[in-house]
């Protein structure tokens, strides 16, 4: 069975600064993907970034990047130059076979 753990329930960051959100996972699959989803107050689920497990290079999408440590089963999200619009809940997720398993989420607040 897959499990995803986000141990920090809340974080806060000053606008324009950098913040890192932590995630660990456990899976018996060899071929899987990892994701970060953003959920703003509108409730919409938005894909932020994804990482293929068999790729060593860390994924980046503009201000968002990941630190993928496969041996440690760690998948953290770094947000650079934080903006007020980054205020949201962030979910880490692992996808193998046909299903996605989510962590409990972390609430990120960006302070002006």
């Amino acid at each position: 069975a897959q499990t995803v753990t986000q141990s920090q329930p809340e974080m806060s960051v000053q606008e324009a600064e950098t913040v890192t959100l932590s995630c660990t996972y456990d899976t018996s699959e060899n071929n899987y993907y990892l994701f970060w989803y953003k959920q703003p107050p509108s409730r919409q689920m938005i894909l932020v970034i994804r990482q293929e497990a068999y790729k060593q290079q860390n994924a980046t999408e503009n201000r968002f990047s990941v630190n993928f440590q496969k041996a440690a089963k760690s998948f953290s999200l770094k947000i650079s130059d934080s903006q007020l619009g980054d205020t949201a809940m962030y979910f880490c997720a692992e996808g193998a076979n046909s299903k996605l398993t989510f962590g409990k989420g972390i609430t990120l607040s960006v302070r002006p």
Binding site: Q6, E29, F91, L100, K104
Partner: protein
């Protein structure tokens, strides 16, 4: 394209009532999912379907039923509503490839259900 459409957006049910949450997608996706989101608990998979006529239980299927008679529609049925089913429900779909990341999930905007 409308993407994934869920109706209704909000609903209040009395204990013991039944209802169907509707979900439809216009992207010709094979895979469809129902998740529930409880505060502090993330998203839990209720049921999923890898194609018309095929459904499988997820992590928390008790109290729910689904059907998949067409590619587009994947309704979720609550037969005897209980307060424990108060939650936000999300429908999602993907083209369908293994592992799942080859075709990420597209989510609907959710249904907030309250059972009192």
């Amino acid at each position: 394209n409308a993407g994934v459409t869920q109706t209704p957006k909000f609903r209040i049910l009395k204990i013991g009532q039944s209802m169907t949450l509707q979900c439809t997608q216009d992207m010709n996706h094979n895979y469809m999912y129902w998740y529930r989101q409880d505060p502090g608990m993330g998203l839990k998979l209720i049921y999923y379907s890898v194609g018309a006529g095929i459904t499988d239980k997820g992590e928390v299927p008790n109290g729910y039923n689904v059907s998949r008679s067409t590619t587009e529609d994947f309704p979720l049925r609550l037969e005897l509503a209980a307060p424990s089913q108060t939650s936000v429900y999300f429908c999602a779909s993907s083209y369908g490839a293994k592992p799942l990341g080859h075709s990420p999930l597209h989510f609907g905007n959710g249904t907030r259900l309250t059972v009192t």
